[in-house]
């Protein structure tokens, strides 16, 4: 169990600046998730921590000790790869014991550790198999087992579940969560699946184009997104955005209090689907463009002013159909507002809207 301190980290590939100044502190025992769209540099950041890529500038400290120039083999970290990367010519047991053998650990200790890991991961009866003869889920477990036996100071996971089918993914996600409870180890986990991020993380790090957009607990980033990017990225379906036009402005003016000058042209209001209500008395109008019936709930996508699509969450058995003209209202007290550059305008801005509807 270790803490990690990343300072002013940069990574430039030949012609591409992949990591652009990352500062991050990861506490002992914390489950940190890097999340962001494809190509934003999640894997690169993880590989820099692992030592599989050379740092261009900046530093990485493990428990206060600078490891920026230490070779991957000597950092004492364990990594679980998206492709599992098991040694195809070794059995499950050999795969798991390889690192310990390299470290000249005696056979009894190795056996004990392998058996312990096999118990945790229910791999007991597969120890003699070759990776070829395992299912995807089992391979993933072996890859995790290979990390567990080493008692590494930090576990690194690069999209470990993305090759599994949906139901197995949910199951493995829960197992990983339990594993973290049990080992109390520091873990860093890369994913572009925000459900994984929200469910697993103590701390979510949202990356965009090689920079950190926001760091926070899952609920913090959900309720207090600092930028439009984060607001849009976290939450399914996505947060909807309304341009601040005269109609919206009028709505807000009718509400009392607050500094209404902030509602300038070019700003955006962001609304989560649960805060859009379709009701006959709603002041805004739109056309239903898509209805998704998910069973427990139904999602209605409304086209507003011919160009803006808003998602609303309605009760499961709602009779709304595609093409319907609907009136809707917005819980203005729960709206976020963003400036032209996508930065959130101070949280108080939304307060001025409180009191309407």
């Amino acid at each position: 169990m270790s803490s990690l301190e990343i300072t002013k980290l940069h990574k430039e590939f030949e012609e591409f600046h992949a990591i652009r100044g990352v500062d991050l502190h990861i506490k002992k025992g914390e489950f940190t998730v890097f999340v962001g769209p494809s190509g934003c540099g999640k894997s690169t950041l993880l590989r820099l921590i692992a030592g599989l890529e050379n740092v261009s500038s900046g530093s990485i400290k493990l428990d206060g000790e600078d490891i920026t120039e230490v070779a991957a083999a000597n950092r004492g970290l364990a990594m679980v790869f998206q492709s599992y990367a098991l040694y195809p010519h070794m059995s499950v047991a050999e795969n798991m014991s390889f690192a310990l053998k390299l470290a000249n650990v005696d056979q009894d200790t190795i056996d004990a550790k392998v058996n312990e890991a096999a118990d945790i991961l229910q791999l007991g009866n597969l120890l003699d198999r070759k990776p070829k003869a395992l299912s995807g889920g089992q391979r993933q477990r072996v890859a995790i087992g290979r990390a567990i036996v080493r008692h590494p100071s930090v576990f690194l996971f690069d999209e470990p579940l993305s090759n599994l089918d949906a139901s197995l993914r949910v199951q493995m996600r829960q197992e990983l969560s339990e594993l973290h409870q049990r080992l109390k180890a520091t873990m860093i986990y890369v994913t572009h699946d925000q459900v994984e991020a929200m469910t697993l993380a103590d701390k979510v790090v949202i990356l965009n184009a090689g920079q950190i957009e926001q760091v926070g607990s899952p609920l913090e980033v959900y309720y207090n997104p600092e930028s439009r990017f984060v607001a849009e990225f976290i939450g399914t379906p996505k947060m909807s955005f309304l341009p601040v036009n005269s109609e919206v402005k009028q709505l807000a003016m009718k509400s009392d209090g607050g500094d209404k000058r902030q509602l300038a042209q070019g700003h955006w209001l962001g609304v989560r689907p649960e805060f859009i209500t379709i009701e006959p008395g709603g002041q805004l109008e739109g056309t239903v463009s898509l209805v998704e019936r998910l069973g427990a709930e139904t999602l209605v996508y409304i086209t507003y002013k011919d160009s803006h699509q808003l998602a609303a969450r309605v009760e499961s058995l709602s009779a709304i159909n595609v093409g319907d003209h609907v009136n809707f209202s917005i819980s203005l007290d729960r709206v976020h507002s963003f400036d032209k550059d996508g930065r959130r305008i101070s949280p108080n801005v939304t307060d001025i809207l409180i009191g309407k509807n």
Binding site: L52, A73, M79, A85, Y87, P88, F98
Partner: protein, 243 residues
């Protein structure tokens, strides 16, 4: 076939297909020159050169396959292009170099030259075999605490063992059959079997039957060797396909 005929039968026109086989040629060949000596030279040069080439090529191919730079492709192509240069072109300089080093008619010079001749092909083959190993497996190995040598020993070599052996076998066969350099740089002491064959087409005349006998003797070991290794070869060629 011809090697089992007498000299007269051998040059008969039209060629004879039914004849009394004779071993006479073989014994003459053996009498005139010590077959075993040439054979041993062949073995030493081909195995020695192959071993040396592998020792050089495995680490180089490893670094080219797993740590490619912008120039890696160019280097590979350049290496292959050296194979296109006719050997005669460099005969003089190499002959003089060997002479200068006092290594004329010496097995060592042959080993060095054979190594250099086959190195490009060996590098290419190993490079392609290594390329098939997923990069993540090596990275996993590094994370597990292995040094570069450990990576080679525990992962790269076992995973491409089939490829390495077939490359080695190919190299042995190529060295064994290499005639140009052994004829030009050796005579009695370090001569290989190919040099022995060549000695039968001498200014004193062509001895078809004896030439064939010598050829048969020269080819026999490598054919037998190849036959025994066939299983290994086939295994090697298919091993990489299963991940």
């Amino acid at each position: 076939m011809t090697s089992f005929k007498t000299e007269l039968q051998a040059i008969a026109v039209p060629p004879m297909f039914a004849f009394e086989p004779t071993l006479e040629n073989f014994s003459i060949v053996q009498e005139r020159s010590d077959y075993m000596k040439y054979a041993i030279n062949s073995v030493i040069t081909s195995f020695g050169a192959t071993f040396l080439a592998l020792v050089i090529a495995v680490p180089s191919a490893y670094s080219m396959a797993f740590f490619p730079t912008k120039r890696t492709k160019d280097i590979l192509l350049w290496m292959l292009s050296t194979k296109m240069l006719p050997a005669v072109g460099v005969l003089m300089p190499i002959y003089l170099l060997t002479k200068g080093a006092g290594l004329l008619d010496n097995v060592l010079s042959l080993i060095i030259i054979f190594t250099m001749i086959n190195l490009p092909i060996i590098m290419w083959m190993l490079f392609t075999y290594f390329k098939e190993i997923p990069k993540e497996i090596l990275e996993a190995c590094r994370m597990d605490g292995a040094t570069t040598l450990g990576e080679l020993r525990h992962v790269v070599m076992p995973l491409s063992w089939g490829g390495i052996t077939s490359t080695g076998l190919l190299s042995i066969v190529l060295c064994w059959n290499e005639a140009f350099w052994s004829i030009n740089l050796t005579s009695a002491d370090a001569g290989t079997l190919t040099a022995l064959i060549a000695s039968y087409s001498s200014p004193e005349g062509l001895f078809w039957a004896k030439l064939s006998a010598a050829s048969t003797l020269a080819c026999a070991p490598i054919v037998v060797f190849g036959w025994f290794c066939q299983k290994q070869l086939v295994q090697g060629l298919t091993f990489g396909a299963v991940k």
